[in-house]
């Protein structure tokens, strides 16, 4: 599946972008040319040789703050996605097998979680339960987990009704064996799609929360926090929000593209797509030499 995804050019670009972002998150603090917290003599300075992206209202180097802040956003969005995955998938699969009571309860819980405005809830919970990005992301992860629940439940339902699984059950296979042997392989692709989407959603949420100043202590830089401080000085430095905003948008875009690519290559439609591509790639190669010789 991984090889099939990487055969798509759009997916290759998305993966490259995400790799760069991940690298920024891992090495950002080391790459920063200045101390992100050191104040300088030139507040609100324009981009220059020493300060590539200019300086903020305290004269702090924007590039360093941007690089230093990348880790919070990346780790936060991964935390959202992985929490949602952990909370959603297992009940989704089990809801098909554990009887109607469990099914009903989990469905109602999923309905409830979908009905809660998660940004509002994240704000409330962080403010009440302690000012940490980790708590916020755990809560948000639980709130977006219905996506994983629904996706894995739908995939499991489809497999559970297929003839080969019924044959296995008639043949005496246990539920555990069926899940491991048949269900898992069918649930994995849609879950991968949901995971890519959720990382994007998580990124928006982390940025929004840090923009509001929730989840981090003031001097520490974050992408959302940078935007918030730029907002106050728009008349002096109108171009300042461009870089953090673009970074957020490109990352979310890459996640969405990756999700689309994963969806395109998984399942029957995906197999047909890849086969068609392969056939098209082969045809010019085979037909190429003949007209070249024939034209002369």
């Amino acid at each position: 599946m991984l090889r099939r995804v990487l055969a798509l050019p759009s997916a290759r670009i998305a993966v490259a972008v995400l790799a760069v972002i991940a690298l920024l998150a891992a090495l950002g603090p080391l790459l920063a040319p200045h101390d992100p917290l050191a104040t300088g003599d030139h507040p609100l300075g324009a981009a220059s040789g020493t300060h590539w992206l200019g300086t903020d209202y305290l004269g702090r180097d924007m590039l360093s703050r941007l690089l230093d802040g990348s880790r919070v956003s990346v780790l936060g969005s991964l935390e959202v996605a992985l929490t949602a995955l952990a909370v959603g998938v297992v009940p989704g699969i089990l809801s098909v097998y554990l009887g109607r009571a469990f099914e009903w309860i989990t469905l109602r819980l999923a309905d409830t979680l979908v009905a809660l405005p998660f940004l509002l809830f994240a704000v409330a919970v962080v403010a009440l339960l302690g000012n940490g990005i980790t708590q916020a992301m755990l809560v948000t992860g639980v709130l977006v987990s219905p996506l994983f629940y629904r996706v894995s439940r739908a995939a499991t339902l489809a497999v559970a009704r297929s003839p080969y699984v019924e044959a296995a059950v008639i043949g005496g296979a246990s539920i555990g064996w069926v899940v491991r042997r048949h269900v898992w392989a069918k649930v994995l692709p849609p879950v991968a799609v949901a995971l890519a989407q959720t990382v994007g959603v998580g990124f928006v949420i982390v940025s929004s929360l840090t923009f509001l100043g929730i989840g981090v202590q003031p001097p520490a830089p974050t992408w959302g926090g940078l935007l918030a401080s730029d907002l106050g000085y728009l008349s002096q430095r109108p171009w300042a929000p461009v870089t953090p905003a673009l970074l957020i948008m490109v990352t979310v875009w890459a996640c969405n593209v990756l999700a689309d690519a994963l969806r395109d290559v998984s399942g029957e439609a995906g197999r047909a797509l890849v086969l068609a591509r392969r056939a098209r790639d082969r045809r010019p190669a085979a037909a190429g030499p003949a007209p070249a010789g024939g034209a002369r």
């Binding site: 009905a115 940004l119 704000v123 929004s208 509001l212």
Partner: protein, 342 residues
């Protein structure tokens, strides 16, 4: 349907229409009952979680009123005053009873009535959200339909590209760009603040336009994408081919067959988008300096005013549930599949 057709043509038209109206009304009521039955457990669970937040947070009004150096006796006195020394379930029952009567309690910070505080903020937020929804519906449905009608042409590709672009822009980023360009740069709109419609329709619209546009991008993108997908799928159905073969006009095919069948997913998306819209108002109201519902939520959360936060969450849940009820009713009325009871 079969009963009306089986009747002889001699039956007065009025009686037939009356029967049809009764039929439609009955169906709407059945949908309403089913939706309410679905949403009652949702509401109960959500309010319980909301109320449990206080016990989980360990915050108390005594901290806010007496400061950090309060003696244990003083803290106990204040907590008893607020009724916090009673068992958890008693407190919950009391609070829930208040909810049903529209009372959300009083704020810990200034003792003001939370219902009226939220009421003032809600006016601002609902004007913005409604405007955003209108923009989202008009442009989302317009773009989605246009892309589906001109599918696989450059129009379709341009719309898809545009929709992809705006779908990755978080509301607060759009907000900042709008403020920077249209308010600070070109002075076309006020950059912050709010005016009530009573102070003049023009100023009111001017103040809510930018926040509404910022909020609407997400709705436009999702509705357009969903509608394009389901309309294109509907055009591939056999009944559309059949309609073409029967020689029906393209307009009739679109409105009677394609649109009604393809509308479902887009409307359902609209229902799901509403919580996101309410949530995103926290951020846009911060950007545009609006004293609305989201701003109130943020401020009271930051100051640890638990009853206020609980009130905000309950109101948002009610809003979401009511909106979804409306969407369900519209869905039941419009799409043929739901009329067959599927």
């Amino acid at each position: 349907m079969t009963t009306t057709q089986a009747q002889p043509p001699a039956v007065p038209v009025a009686r037939r229409t009356a029967a049809r109206v009764r039929h439609t009304l009955g169906r709407a009521l059945a949908t309403l009952a089913r939706s309410v039955a679905l949403f009652v457990p949702v509401f109960l669970v959500a309010t319980f979680v909301t109320f449990a937040l206080r016990s989980l947070s360990g915050l108390s009004p005594a901290r806010l009123q007496l400061g950090e150096q309060a003696t244990p006796e003083a803290i106990a006195r204040v907590e008893a005053q607020w009724g916090l020394d009673r068992p958890f379930l008693v407190q919950y029952g009391d609070w829930f009873d208040g909810l049903l009567h529209g009372r959300l309690g009083t704020s810990w910070t200034n003792g003001a009535d939370i219902s009226s505080l939220i009421g003032t903020g809600l006016g601002v937020s609902l004007s913005v959200a409604t405007f955003a929804l209108i923009i989202g519906i008009v442009f989302g449905f317009g773009l989605g339909t246009l892309a589906a009608l001109r599918r696989t042409t450059w129009v379709d590709r341009a719309i898809t590209g545009f929709v992809t672009l705006i779908s990755v822009m978080p509301a607060f980023v759009v907000g900042i760009v709008l403020v920077a360009v249209l308010a600070v740069g070109l002075h076309l709109f006020p950059s912050a603040g709010y005016m009530t419609p009573q102070q003049g329709l023009g100023p009111w619209l001017a103040h809510i336009t930018l926040p509404a546009v910022a909020l609407s991008f997400d709705v436009v993108a999702d509705v357009a994408r969903q509608l394009r997908g389901s309309l294109v799928a509907a055009y591939r159905e056999n009944y559309v081919t059949g309609a073409v073969v029967r020689g029906l006009s393209p307009r009739r095919i679109f409105f009677r067959h394609v649109l009604r069948n393809g509308l479902g997913p887009a409307l359902a998306t609209l229902g799901l988008k509403f919580p996101a819209l309410v949530g995103a108002s926290v951020v846009t109201e911060w950007v545009f300096g609006l004293q609305g519902f989201g701003r109130f939520a943020n401020d009271s959360a930051q100051s640890g005013d638990v009853p206020a936060v609980q009130g905000v969450l309950v109101v948002s849940i009610v809003l979401v549930v009511v909106f979804n009820l409306v969407v369900n009713l519209v869905l039941a009325g419009v799409t043929p599949a739901s009329q067959r009871g599927v």
